[in-house]
């Protein structure tokens, strides 16, 4: 009675066995916005023409989510990632999980054009390619310049009720940078008091930066945690500077994005060639237009809109990475219990 159903089963199982094959691949794990906004397609074109291979970008969402995905795959030794792009505050996790091959200046000629202050221990293998500042961005049609908070603690003022959107530090690198900013500013003893004081100011806490930007540009919220390059973005793409970045009290938190070679790679030379291309003047000049970040290569020229609208906080903060590595879990744990499970 079930003969024919069994045949159906077998057909379904055969379909399962169909798995594609192709030519030599170089797989880059990156964050969503690098693929959707960044120079991924240009990189792919240039790199594939130069080295006969198939360059693939893989993303699981933001930088944090993609790292988790990569580590999950390594855990069952099933990753085919050759390179990984991450935010600087992930370095403690990268070191902890022994993720990257060491990279020196001899490996990557274009590293010569990256300023010393952006470089990290070559043994970590984290090669910076762009940086920027976390700051606040406001809708200038809702808030005027003199209504803006002059420091973070002024955000607790009732006049900002249900206005601010920030990102979840557990899931978003922007959100994590903002959490570090509050710790750098208020100290480990006081930062949770600040977070509790802005409970009514916070409209919501989004999973990633993109959701927060969605809310700003849809008129849902007039104030978000974002990047200091936002005004320049509007000038370049929206023909308007309705959404403006500002650094409350001249403060902001520095963020650096970098790339490294995953230890399991079979093609370290090809991976190094890719990093060198990413640091080349040609690609670096794409970054301020596509990633809306400041290129690491000093030779790269910035678009004219950056001269006019780029905001560089006078007093940028950045906690030492050793401290971040030691305390990260505790901070997130405490934040989670103070804000989510309250």
């Amino acid at each position: 009675m079930f003969n024919k159903l069994v045949v159906l089963f077998v057909v379904a199982l055969v379909a399962l066995a169909v798995i594609g094959t192709g030519k030599e691949q170089l797989v880059v794990y990156t964050y969503q916005s690098f693929v959707s906004w960044g120079p991924a397609s240009v990189l792919e074109e240039v790199f594939e023409a130069q080295y006969d291979c198939d360059l693939q970008f893989v993303t699981a969402g933001g930088a944090k989510a993609t790292l988790s995905r990569l580590l999950a795959e390594r855990d069952v030794s099933a990753t085919n990632a050759d390179l990984f792009m991450a935010e600087v505050n992930e370095i403690p996790r990268i070191v902890k999980y022994d993720l990257f091959l060491p990279v020196t200046k001899d490996d990557i000629p274009n590293l010569a054009f990256v300023p010393e202050e952006l470089l990290f221990d070559p043994n970590v293998g984290f090669v910076p390619y762009e940086y920027g500042y976390i700051s606040l961005t406001y809708d200038s049609r809702v808030l005027s310049e003199d209504e803006l908070p002059q420091s973070l603690d002024q955000l607790a003022d009732p006049r900002y009720e249900r206005m601010l959107v920030c990102q979840d530090p557990r899931t978003s690198s922007t959100g994590f940078s903002f959490l570090l900013w509050t710790i750098a500013q208020f100290g480990e003893e006081k930062y949770l008091d600040f977070w509790r004081s802005i409970d009514r100011t916070l409209l919501t806490i989004t999973r990633g930066w993109t959701e927060a930007w969605t809310m700003l540009s849809h008129g849902e919220a007039p104030l978000i945690v974002s990047f200091s390059t936002d005004t320049a973005y509007g000038a370049m793409y929206e023909d308007s500077i309705d959404y403006r970045a500002f650094a409350p009290g001249g403060q902001g938190y520095r963020t650096v994005f970098g790339i490294g070679i995953v230890k399991e790679t079979n093609q370290p030379e090809l991976a190094k060639a890719f990093i060198d291309l990413l640091l080349s003047k040609e690609i670096q000049e794409q970054l301020p237009r596509t990633e809306i970040m400041i290129p690491a290569n000093l030779q790269a020229e910035l678009p004219p809109e950056y001269d006019e609208y780029l905001i560089i906080p006078e007093d940028p903060l950045m906690l030492p990475l050793d401290l971040v590595g030691d305390r990260m879990d505790t901070w997130l744990h405490d934040w989670e219990r103070a804000i989510v499970g309250k």
């Binding site: 379904a12 988790s68 849809h218 499970g341």
Partner: protein
Amino acid sequence: MKKGWFLVFIGLLAFLGLVFYQPLFSVLRRGLTEGGRWSLSPLATILTDSYFVHIIVFSLKQAALSTLLSLGIGLPGAYILTRYSFPGKSAIRSLTVVPFVLPAVVVALGFILFFGESGWLNQWLMSVFHLPSPPLHILYSLTGIVLAHAFYNAPIVMRLVNASWEGIDPEIDEAAASLGARGLRRFVGITIPLLAPALLSSAALVFIFSFLSFPIVLALGGARYTTIEVGIYTLIRTLLDYKLGSALILVETALSLSLTYVYLKTEGGFATLTQGSRRVATYPLFSRKASMCKLVIAAYIIIAAVFFLGPISSILVDSLRVRGQWSVESYRQIFTLGYNPFLGVSPLRTVLNSLFIGGISTAISLPVGMLIAMFAVRSRLPGRRLLEAILMAPLAVSSVAIGFAVLYGLGGAPLHLSGTLIAIALAHAILTYPFVVRVIRPVLEGLDQSLVEAARSLGASPTRAFFEVILPLIGPGILVAAVFGFALSIGEMSATIMLMRPGLGTMPMAVYSLLSARQFGAASAMGMILVLVAGIAFLVIDRLGRRGVGCRTL
């Protein structure tokens, strides 16, 4: 025959064991080990830490509120559908299934456009009452989550209860009336007890769905409103705490398994209802005779129409507006063949991917679901209910957990499915086959067994009887199940997001990516296409449904 069913059960178990149980158990095992040894300490952490207790309680609370609101909105609808006749009634009945397959990301978009701080509703209220600021703060809170769940689930309540209500023999009610029982007493004494199984069954179903809902809570809740499902996602995907993540999956699965058991039990009671010889009498809704009752009904219809149509029409209008002008530009973008940097592939490719995944997943879920339905209806094995519950287990396991299990358990050897469309299709098949069972089971139950027996007594082999008698009779039911499974796969995002890579994007993922890339017009346009796919699928189901096969229990 007993031996035959035993073999079927073993076969099903072997297949599900490979693609579902083994991967899931390897995930759960992590939740019960500490340093490589069996241990209850991860579980103890979950059950004692205030944060986890908070999210478990919050999950149950929001599911209970969502169930109450869904019943509150769904029951009056079921009443109107049962007792009144009006033009477009059957269309409305078939449309009640549409929200169920709408991708949650589309619903979230619609809710933001309609109920948001600067959404249509607030804008309208501000202009009518000359208010300086938006009066309604609905989203980003418990209210927003519960409303969105009711948007999904109230139509299910409406459909289930209406089907059961129409099945009540009116003669029972008439007999009570002739014995002098008044309206309210007849309602409480007769209608409610007769409807009880359907009420319980739909309440249990809505509770499970709300309890396991992921994209809605993710999109509308924000970090401050976290359910177990979102907690698992956060633990596993970002904190890399598989131990606690898996322990939380264990707690969630235990809770939802027991709920599913309750549901299956009540559904069994539901199926035994006897159909009367006549249908319940209906009254025309639009007649000259006005009454208080009709005023209340009119108010309900207006509120319901705003609630259900508001978010969807917001998406429609948004998809047709470009910089304040009417335009089909967004749709043109969707159908551009070229590489779209926002998606990493061409938009058309995501449509093809969705179709491919939907096809493969239906090809798997249909035979699996059919066999389980036949097993449930025909087998007489001891402990049948329990065995059935085991076979229906994916219904009780969250999509995120299934996505993680497929990634974790099947990504490597021996199947090496990591990063393939097949992996996504397989996850969809696991998620959708219980719904195939739900569609086919009542069809099989309604099958006149004497026809099969007649064929067998005339000398037909069991195989021949199946293909020449059973199959033609249940054929339309199978088609309905296939369309349903396909539509669910097309709209699925939670498991997909766990398995997704660029180039593997599906339509709901495209909506999500376009949203992330600030391409709202294109996101709405892609969302509208998904709405349309869902709508067409269910018109097909409804047409087939009227030709003799009930897909009432959808």
